[in-house]
C-alpha cells in the first residue's frame, strides 16, 4: 500500500507539472508487478478517472472548457473505448493480452518519448501542456498549419463552431475522438497525451481549450471505461485508492512547481523517462518470456526509478529556485 501511495505521489508530481504522464506509467508498472492485464488496465483507467475529477474541479473556474466539443468527443471516445476494451478481453482469451499491450506501450512510449525529447532539444517547448500557452488569450492563439489545412479540406456537414472561432466538421472531431478512445480502452490510459495534441493539431482548438475540454472528457471516458472494466472485475480499489491518495498530493506539488520552474528545461528528462519506460517494459517482457525473474525486476525498477528521478528533479529544482530567489530578495545583511 505504501508503494502505491509513493508511486501515486511520483505520478501526481509528473501529472501536475507536465499536464500528462499519469496513467501510462501505472498500467505497465501493474503489469510488471504481476497483475492480470484486465486488472492492470482497469485499475489504471479508474486511477485516471479519479485524477481527472480532481483536475477538472480545479480547471472548472478557469472557463477553459468547450462543452460542445466535449460532447462530440465523449460520444466518439465512448465507442472507441468500448472497441478497445473488447479487444483486451478478446486478446486475453487468446492469452496474448499482456504481450500485445506491452508491445503497444513500447511503441507508444518510445514514439512519444522520442518526440518530446527531440522537441525539447530543439528548444521550442513541444510536448505536454505548455503552461505559458495555457495562460495566453484565446484571440492571440495561432492555429497550426496542419489544422488549417484539415479545416479547409474536410468540410463534410455538419460544421461546428468552437471556442476561439474555430469552425470544423463534426466528423473530424468524431474521428479524432474514436481513435484516441480506442487507444484509451486498449491501454487503460486517459489518452490525454494523444488527444490533446490531436485536438490542437487535427481540430485546431486553442491550447487552453484543448486542456480544459480534455480534462472534462477524461472524467466521462475514464468513468465509463472504469465502470465497464469494473463490471468484469478489472478495478481493484486496493490499488486505485492509495494511488489516488498519493497522486492528488503530488499533483498539487507538481502544479505549484510550474509557477517556479521553467518546464522546458525538464522536458528533456521527461522524454528520457518515457524512453526509459519503453525500454523497461521491453526488458520486463523479455524477462517474462524467458522466465527470468531478474530481468522482470530490472524492468520494474527502471520504470519506477525513471519516474522517481524526474519527479525528484522537479522538487529539487523548485526548492533550489525558491531558495535562490529568496537569497536575491534578502541580500546578506550579516
Amino acid at each position: 500500500m505504501a508503494l502505491f501511495v509513493g508511486f501515486g505521489l511520483v505520478v501526481g508530481i509528473l501529472f501536475g507539472f507536465f499536464g500528462m504522464g499519469g496513467s501510462f506509467l501505472v498500467t505497465p508498472a501493474l503489469l510488471m508487478l504481476g497483475y492480470d492485464a484486465s486488472v492492470a488496465v482497469g485499475s489504471g483507467m479508474a486511477f485516471v478517472f479519479g485524477t481527472a475529477v480532481i483536475a477538472t474541479l480545479k480547471h472548472h473556474d478557469l472557463g477553459q472548457v468547450d462543452y460542445k466539443l466535449g460532447a462530440i468527443m465523449i460520444a466518439g471516445t465512448t465507442i472507441g473505448i468500448e472497441v478497445g476494451r473488447a479487444s483486451v478481453y478478446y486478446l486475453e482469451a487468446l492469452g496474448l493480452a499482456g504481450g500485445v499491450i506491452s508491445v503497444a506501450y513500447v511503441v507508444l512510449l518510445g514514439g512519444i518519448g522520442a518526440m518530446v525529447t527531440r522537441e525539447a532539444m530543439k528548444g521550442d517547448g513541444g510536448g505536454g501542456v505548455d503552461h505559458e500557452a495555457a495562460d495566453t488569450d484565446l484571440s492571440e492563439y495561432e492555429i497550426p498549419e496542419i489544422a488549417k489545412t484539415i479545416q479547409e479540406t474536410v468540410r463534410i456537414p455538419p460544421m461546428v463552431t468552437l471556442r476561439g472561432d474555430v469552425r470544423v466538421s463534426a466528423w473530424v472531431i468524431t474521428a479524432v475522438a474514436f481513435s484516441t478512445g480506442l487507444l484509451s480502452g486498449f491501454l487503460g490510459v486517459g489518452g490525454g497525451f494523444i488527444r490533446m495534441p490531436a485536438m490542437i493539431y487535427a481540430i485546431g482548438v486553442p491550447v487552453p481549450v484543448a486542456v480544459g475540454t480534455d480534462l472534462f472528457e477524461i472524467v466521462f471516458s475514464g468513468g465509463i471505461g472504469s465502470y465497464l472494466y469494473g463490471q468484469g472485475g478489472g478495478v481493484d480499489l486496493a490499488i486505485v485508492a492509495p494511488l489516488l491518495f498519493g497522486s492528488a498530493l503530488g499533483a498539487r506539488i507538481g502544479s505549484a512547481a510550474t509557477a517556479v520552474v521553467d518546464s522546458d528545461g525538464i522536458k528533456i528528462y521527461f522524454g528520457g523517462m518515457l524512453l526509459a519506460g519503453a525500454v523497461a517494459v521491453g526488458i520486463g517482457e523479455v524477462g517474462s518470456y524467458l522466465g527470468n525473474g531478474l530481468l522482470e525486476t530490472v524492468g520494474l525498477v527502471l520504470v519506477i526509478g525513471a519516474a522517481v528521478v524526474v519527479a525528484g528533479a522537479i522538487v529539487y529544482t523548485t526548492v533550489a529556485s525558491l531558495r535562490a530567489t529568496r537569497r536575491r530578495r534578502t541580500p546578506a545583511a550579516d
Binding site: V53, A86, A248, R326
Partner: protein
Amino acid sequence: MAGLAVPTWDPQTALLIGAILFEAIVLYVGYGGLERLVGPRLMELLVGGDSGVGQ
C-alpha cells in the same frame, strides 16, 4: 458494433466507481484545506519564507 458488451446497471460496480469519485472530491477539498493550513509553514521550513508557491 455487434458482439460488443453494452453497459448494464450494476449497483456494485456503480458503488465502486462512486467510491473513487467520492475519494477524488474528498482529496481535492482535503488537500486544498491542508495546503492553506500548513502550506506557508512548510514553505518557511523549506526555503525560509513564503515564496508564493501553492497559491
